[in-house]
Amino acid sequence: MRLFVCIKQALDWNSSTKDFRIDPATQQVAVSFARHRIDQFDEIALQVARQYRDRTGGEIRALTVGAEETDDVLRHAHAMNVDQSTLIETTGQQASTAQLLAAAITHYGGASIVLCGRTSSDNGTGQTGPALAEHLGLPFIANIVHIEGDEHAWLCRCETPTGYELLKVNSPFVASVTNAASNVPRAPTMKDVMRAHRAKIDVLAAATLCPASGSGLAQNTRVTRRYIPETSRSCRRFDGAPHEQANALALYIRSLSIGA
């Protein structure tokens, strides 16, 4: 049983958002003392993969696409007990992330299950999982929270707009993972972190995986501008005794034609 979890590095919201701004010259987010870590959505995917493997068996390989320094997120994946990891090392604009991930998975002989985060906390497109499924020719399942079973019949619990449904899948598949009470990522222990530090990280060159000579490798969109929208919200405070505050709040709510 081969499980792949696709992860990415993102800005750590908990430590570096005080002076969030866009650098007009580079059109990139500029934050003083920016810290990066594994994207919170991908961490949930790792947790679901690990819960499945610990119950059923198999091996998990974490994949990430990026420059050399991106391997921090793979160390984090090792601290969350993945078995192997691969950095798909890029050197400039090449194939899409989904194309590179698909090529790497094919390189390793294909997958039983491929998991991705539901979206990402930076670009937030949520396109890598579905696009990856298409490149691999596998079915895609959205918003899984839990997986059971084996290759004869996997059972996936998925969040829907109105609740949860249970899907039976009898072919390898790609899925996006969403958060639930059952899959809150377990924080690594110091021992896990030490072990992760020594773990071997495999490297595949993006240029070798997807030579640029192929067709359809171009990115089809180009960023022309990024900016922070102006918000004109200024907070009006209601002071006074609690009943005065409550009265002011009630008047405010009524002024919105709510609670008539």
Binding site: G126, P139, K168, T221, R233, C235, P242, L256
Partner: protein
């Protein structure tokens, strides 16, 4: 420019209106060539507001749930027949998985969660979308012949309505209904996830609680207030992680993104992940004992107070006026 909007079975008529508003916003002035394909069991007049648009239905749709794979095949076939320059889908569970796959198949540009359009001086249509959980916006240029955009819910809800004249004809698009996928079988559907009141995404009012509630019992007060305001109860991630309320109630970047008329944040400090999911709310009230809490920076109205005192007082104030 030919624009095709595809309404999936998840799109209720309000969502179809939004797709049509988005299509009108994208169309060059006076040169709208808008097409709408209804793939679900939409009521006969759904999409009629789209007059000016040509409305299509599929022949003999099967009853019951349609698999995403079948919809993907249908969308691909519709692209081949109608050859649009812009294809619109809702940015919901279904649209967000169909659009990237369709973009791979058709070598299209993909714009996820589009919330606006800009026309450049040269007349090119650019696409606006939120990044970093709504903290910033980016403007994208498409470099492909076909652009597929998923439309962020509520983004075009209030767009200036064009003067629609009723369109009474609905055509049939000759697409053979694909056979159901054999790889995926639905075993059990929709265990409701125990949300209370109206669902978060559609509620006009949301009363949301965070770590500041102190314990799970605090939600009883919030539920009472939500009940009075006919609203839904939400939560921050901290409260969900503490096990005080179901994960399905979570508002924020990892939970549900909401844009109600009124959002009442109770004991929520205002972590960016939470703000990302609710900052589009029309009006925000913050109730918190910590006057330094970042949430006040995002609220229209704030009260530094203990919710255990304020909320019962507010409920009785609201009751007073209706009596």
């Amino acid at each position: 420019m030919k624009i095709l909007a595809i309404a999936t079975p998840l799109d209720h008529s309000g969502r179809i209106d939004e797709l049509m508003h988005a299509a009108c916003a994208a169309a060059p002035e006076g040169a709208a060539d808008i097409h709408l394909l209804l793939t679900g069991e939409h009521a006969a007049n759904d999409g009629m507001c789209a007059a000016g648009a040509r409305v299509y239905r599929l022949p003999n749709p099967m009853s019951g749930a349609i698999s995403p794979d079948a919809l993907l095949d249908i969308a691909q076939r519709a692209c081949e027949i109608l050859d649009p320059a812009l294809l619109l889908l809702s940015a919901d569970t279904l649209g967000l998985q169909l659009a990237p796959r369709l973009a791979v198949r058709t070598q299209a540009a993909y714009v996820s969660g589009c919330c606006g359009f800009e026309r450049t001086a040269s007349g090119r249509l650019d696409f606006v979308r939120p990044i970093y959980g709504g903290r910033a916006l980016e403007v994208l240029e498409s470099t492909a012949a076909l652009t597929i955009a998923t439309i962020k819910p509520k983004s075009f809800a209030d767009s200036a309505r064009r003067d629609y004249t009723a369109n009474s004809t609905v055509e049939t698009l000759a697409i053979a209904w694909p056979s159901p996928s054999s790889a995926i079988t639905r075993m059990a559907s929709d265990t409701p996830h125990g949300r209370e009141g109206p669902d978060l995404e559609n509620a006009r009012v949301i009363v949301s609680g965070g770590r500041g509630l102190g314990n799970a019992g605090g939600y009883a007060e919030l539920r009472r207030l939500a009940h009075v305001l006919d609203g839904a109860v939400g939560a921050s991630r901290a409260a969900v992680d503490a096990g005080w309320i179901a994960a399905s109630s979570q508002v924020g970047q990892t939970g549900t993104s909401v844009a109600p008329e009124l959002y009442i944040a109770v004991g929520i400090s205002g972590a960016v992940q939470h703000i990302a999911g609710m900052s589009a709310s029309r009006n925000i009230i913050a109730i918190n004992t910590d006057e330094e809490a970042p949430i006040f920076g995002f609220a229209n109205v704030g009260v530094v107070a203990d919710y255990r005192v304020i909320i019962p007082a507010l409920i009785s104030e609201l009751a007073k006026k209706t009596a």
